[in-house]
């Protein structure tokens, strides 16, 4: 059965997504349990698949018996296995959060599972065009989810997200067209060989690279292509921003790496060094600009959103450097960031429910008003800054080691400075939570709401538990770096070298 796992990780959430709608006709509120069962199964599948991959190398699957390159191939190697597990685990975690936080509509859970299916598809596919289809499935689900926010501005944010995201995906599709014109194939493994024959420095290939990477950079939200992201994160429902912030950009970044290593291959960078320099520059600019924009925000969720711009600069820089250590670092940071940013968005949701605070100034004295959540936020913040031994540090360590090995010194400086840049915006939040007196006489509700007490909106233990779990994971995940390193080492050796 395990040999079918690559297709099952996509099919399972799709089937699961259909059930809430169907059962919704007969009974109420079945969405959550169905989604929970589906995602539990998904997690088991993903973990089993990852174990198989780690033990026995990459798994490829050809649905319908149409042999690649004619059929569509699904390939799961170490890199994708890690991301698959991440998708399943995080979506399961966020589901625990959604139980109380809602939205409770059955159609919400259908879209939720569709998003998981799209993300898993993006991760498992071995075909450039298929990647586009899953990219758009992911996009469609994400636009719908963002639009489910309570405020009307959510619809505006979703539309903005849709237009920018579609342009990004279209650019990617155009690039895929150039690849097809240059080589006549769309299968990733096939492309790696035929691209080398077509010549890496041919105009067609270069254009294809620019368009595809550019298109994915929109989805990753690198500066200056990030404009959709802060609105989408800040205006969406808390559950949605947690899920989207944790996974969507993450998987897009994975797809970018997949293109770099499996399609264009390291040989491309050797042949066209300017492409690498350009990508590194964009990543470095993203790190700095994202942080500076984050410092300027007064809304906490927007600050977190801009922080993502900066952190993904770090990830992409790691992938673009391309040495083994840097890839390990980028992957660790990808996983770590998903956990940390997801946890932070979940926490801001709890804070807003409990105290109504959205802006930085309103977070004053949170340490006493909601001690557990505040402590979770504090741990996540410092993990994000890169205080060892948390996962934020481990990822950065590997990326910096990789950058040093590659001799990209100016990048090393930016990477190191990113610690201080991150500190610049997160320290303000931390200080506000613990060392500023809460607004007392001026506001009407001066009485502090104790943790677990009845606040403005119900906050379940499960929601707080998600934040605490994220905080613990952020600290503990750093210890998995050797495992990730082993997986990447194994995977990198299978990357095509023309």
């Amino acid at each position: 059965m395990i040999e079918h796992a690559p297709v099952l990780v996509i099919a399972l959430p799709i089937v699961g997504g259909a059930l809430p709608l169907l059962f919704g006709l007969f009974a109420d509120r079945l969405g959550w349990p169905i989604a929970a069962v589906t995602l539990l199964g998904q997690t088991v599948l993903a973990v089993a698949l990852a174990t198989t991959v780690v033990d026995g190398g990459a798994v490829s699957y050809v649905p319908g018996g149409f042999v690649a390159p004619y059929g569509i191939e699904l390939v799961v190697d170490g890199l994708s296995a890690v991301v698959l597990v991440l998708i399943a685990a995080v979506s399961l975690g966020v589901l625990a959060y959604a139980r109380r936080a809602g939205p409770h509509a059955d159609s919400f859970y259908a879209q939720y599972l569709l998003l998981v299916a799209g993300l898993s598809g993006m991760t498992a596919t071995g075909d450039v065009f298929n990647l586009y289809v899953f990219l758009e499935i992911t996009g469609l689900a994400a636009y719908g989810l963002v639009a489910s926010g309570r405020s009307a501005s959510a619809a505006v944010a979703a539309l903005k997200y849709l237009i920018v995201g579609t342009i990004g995906a279209s650019l990617y599709l155009l690039g895929a067209g150039y690849l097809l014109a240059a080589t006549g194939t769309l299968n990733m493994a096939d492309l790696a060989g035929t691209l080398a024959e077509a010549g890496y420095d041919s105009t067609l290939v270069l254009t294809a690279f620019g368009l595809m990477i550019g298109g994915l950079a929109v989805k990753v939200a690198l500066y200056p292509l990030h404009t959709w992201q802060p609105d989408a994160y800040a205006d969406a429902h808390d559950t949605v921003s947690t899920l989207v912030a944790a996974l969507v950009s993450t998987v897009a970044a994975y797809a970018l790496a997949r293109l770099l290593f499996s399609v264009f291959t390291v040989g491309f960078f050797d042949a066209v060094p300017i492409a690498q320099t350009a990508l590194l520059t964009v990543a470095a600019v993203s790190i700095v600009a994202g942080s500076l924009l984050a410092v300027a925000q007064s809304d906490v969720q927007r600050m977190l959103a801009y922080s993502s711009v900066s952190q993904f600069g770090l990830v992409i820089a790691g992938f673009a450097v391309g040495t083994q250590a840097a890839i390990v670092g980028a992957l660790v940071h990808l996983v770590g960031h998903a956990v940390m940013k997801g946890g932070l968005f979940a926490a801001t949701g709890i804070v807003e429910r409990r105290t109504g605070a959205r802006r930085l100034a309103e977070y004053a004295g949170l340490g006493e008003r909601a001690p557990v959540t505040a402590a979770g936020i504090a741990v996540l913040l410092f993990a994000m800054v890169g205080v060892p031994p948390a996962v934020g540090f481990v990822g950065k360590w590997y990326i910096v080691v990789g950058a040093v090995e590659a001799g990209t010194w100016s990048l090393v400086v930016v990477l190191l400075a990113s610690t201080l840049l991150t500190l610049a915006y997160f320290a303000r939040l931390f200080e506000r939570m613990y060392f500023t007196a809460p607004p007392s006489a001026s506001t009407t509700d001066a009485t502090p709401v104790p943790d677990g007490g009845n606040g403005r909106e119900a906050v379940s233990t499960g929601m707080v538990a998600v934040v605490v779990a994220a905080a613990l994971l952020a600290v503990v995940l750093g210890g998995t770096a050797p495992l990730v390193e082993q997986i990447v080492e194994q995977t990198v050796s299978t990357f095509p070298h023309p």
Binding site: A325, V328, G365, E368, F382, V385, V387, P388, P389, F393, V394, W397, Y398, V400, V401, V404, E405, V412, L416, A417, T419, L420, L423, A427, E431, Y434, F435, T436, A437, P438, P439, S440, A446, P448, G478, G479, A481, P482, E485
Partner: protein, 566 residues
């Protein structure tokens, strides 16, 4: 008997596990304080039990926790150098814990639970720094120490405290980045970061330019916490923290972790020989010399007692750095011995400053004329410790400085020897007025100004209301205040606002002059006097019988382990 190699782990856990207990007992003050004391005693016991086998038996114990990154384990190792720092920090934690109790009770501080918890966390990190087996592990605990001490610096929750906290984080994380960069480069160049007595062999053969870059990065990074100029300015600002924090952390744990890092870099990463051949020791020595002179001169012009002590700390830390940078055997012994010596003396001085603050709310030296009548024991301890600082024989400071000066002369560095002696004179210059005023002047006839107004850097005007916000805003004696509420809720009355009613009255002698207190402890509580006297006694013991006190022996072992000397 617990396996010796497990003991460093347990020593860290001792204070780490105390944190949840401290939170759990937050509503019961006495119980919470006993938890702290118990943790401190356990920690010291565990570390002290390692002394015989490590120092006399020549053993080292290693314990690998888990692999952090490729080829690098998060590992603990107990060697003589680590033991020096670990023993010192844990011993003084006991003393400081008692003092903290007295201090926090005396001032009825808010958020005491957070205070004690952060304190325990800081100590866990400090001992981690001491027992780190490689540079990366050291870095991990070094950064954790920063995080753990941040709440202590910002404890007062005033604007000034927050500003100081921000500055502290910026400076130390900035330094952390330099350390990280240096560590990455080191790992890239040699493939290891493990501490090796006498230096990592591969470094000697590395491209000198890269080796120098690594050295510069590491020294800069650790230099921030060691308060080398020009990276010192966080330290005086951090004096807004409660005095026990300034005492233990900003005279012992935090700043010494920087110095300790430097020692590790010079002795166990590069090794004296490589440092010598790279020619980087001299530049470090020059920076240290400049720091110790300039800081002493600035100290002359500081009227706030804690700020003066802060600059004194900066100056004294540079003694240690200078001792390390000179690379001579005696200088190394002196430098390392100055770590405990300075710790005992400076702790005494800070405790005295704190006691004065708690009892009389006086922070400025110009207000302290005749205070010897009010606090005779405290000021006596203060006098002893300052004499030690200046290097008067029979006190701790003398022994260490003696070794450093010998080392300086051995190395032909008359310049450094001269600077050390000059600094000794300056030490007397800024400590003597305090002692003199306290005993031989009365509030009416004393000279209001400090010896020299700030002629170097810093603020030109002497801040009469000082850097310590509690004392600054508040001013009258303890009795004036309503101290019935145990822990004021910050959102009800912020810390500053609580005392705002008598804003214009500064600290200093009450209207009718200082009341005399006897020599039998009437001046304060024994919770505070005890630690003061204990620390002062330590300083004396180190000075009179350095060979009996274990520290000199540890230091000699460290230097012997280095093998071949330059």
């Amino acid at each position: 008997m617990i396996d010796p190699s497990l003991r460093p782990v347990l020593a860290i856990l001792a204070s780490l596990l105390a944190i949840p207990l401290i939170f759990a007992t937050s509503s019961r003050r006495t119980l919470r304080e006993s938890v702290t004391i118990a943790a401190a005693l356990t920690k010291f016991g565990l570390i002290a039990s390692l002394v015989p086998s490590v120092v006399w038996g020549g053993e080292t114990y290693e314990y690998a926790l888990f692999t952090l990154a490729s080829g690098i384990e998060l590992a603990l190792e107990v060697d003589a150098l680590g033991l020096l720092f670990g023993l010192l920090a844990s011993l003084l934690w006991i003393v400081t814990s008692f003092y903290s109790i007295g201090y926090m009770r005396g001032l009825d501080e808010h958020a005491q639970t957070r205070y004690f918890a952060s304190f325990a966390a800081s100590l866990a990190a400090a001992v981690g720094v001491a027992f780190a087996a490689n540079l990366l592990t050291l870095f991990v605990f070094y950064e954790l120490l920063t995080v753990a001490t941040y709440p202590l610096v910002t404890h007062d929750e005033t604007d000034e405290a927050r500003a100081a906290g921000r500055k502290y984080l910026t400076y130390t994380f900035g330094g952390g980045i330099a350390v990280l960069a240096g560590t990455v480069l080191l790992f890239w160049a040699t493939g290891t970061t493990a501490f090796t007595p006498g230096g990592i062999a591969e470094l000697a053969t590395t491209d000198p330019a890269i080796a120098r870059a690594i050295f510069a990065l590491l020294v800069t990074g650790f230099g921030v916490k060691a308060a080398l100029m020009p990276m010192h300015s966080w330290l005086p600002d951090a004096m807004v923290a409660p005095t026990p924090v300034s005492g233990l952390l900003h005279a012992v744990a935090v700043v010494k972790s920087g110095v300790f890092g430097l020692a590790r870099v010079i002795l166990d990463v590069f090794g004296p020989e490589t440092v010598e051949s790279l020619g980087v020791g001299l530049s470090l020595a020059v920076v240290a010399t400049a720091t110790l002179l300039i800081a002493s001169i600035i100290a002359l012009g500081r009227d706030n007692l804690k700020r003066r002590l802060a600059y004194s700390t900066i100056s004294q830390l540079s003694y240690i750095v200078l001792g390390l940078a000179l690379l001579k055997e005696s200088a190394l012994i002196g430098g390392l011995l100055h770590i405990p010596a300075h710790a005992f003396m400076k702790l005494t001085l800070f405790f005295c400053a704190g006691a004065i603050h708690v009892e009389t709310h006086t922070d400025d030296i110009s207000d302290m004329a005749g205070i010897g009548r009010r606090m005779p024991l405290t000021m006596a301890a203060f006098a002893v410790a300052s004499a030690g600082m200046a290097g008067i024989p029979l006190l701790a400071g003398f022994v260490s400085k003696w070794y450093i000066v010998i080392g300086a002369i051995e190395g032909g560095g008359w310049f450094f020897a001269g600077a050390l002696l000059l600094s000794g004179v300056l030490n007397i210059g800024y400590f003597w007025p305090v002692v003199y005023q306290a005993y031989f002047e009365s509030p009416d006839d004393h000279d209001e100004k400090p010896l020299v107004r700030g002629i170097f850097g810093g603020r030109t005007a002497v801040e009469t209301d000082g850097g310590e916000p509690v004392g600054a805003a508040d001013g009258a004696e303890t009795g004036d205040h309503d101290h019935t509420d145990d822990e004021p809720e910050p959102y009800e009355t912020d810390h500053l606002g609580k005392y705002n009613e008598d804003h214009d009255h500064h600290g200093g002698p009450p209207e009718g002059g200082w009341t005399a207190a006897g020599w039998r402890g009437g001046e304060s509580t024994w919770f505070m006097l005890g630690p003061i006297l204990a620390a002062a006694t330590g300083a004396v013991v180190l000075g009179i019988v350095p060979n009996t006190a274990v520290f000199l022996e540890i230091v000699t072992t460290v230097v012997d382990n280095l093998g071949v000397m330059v």
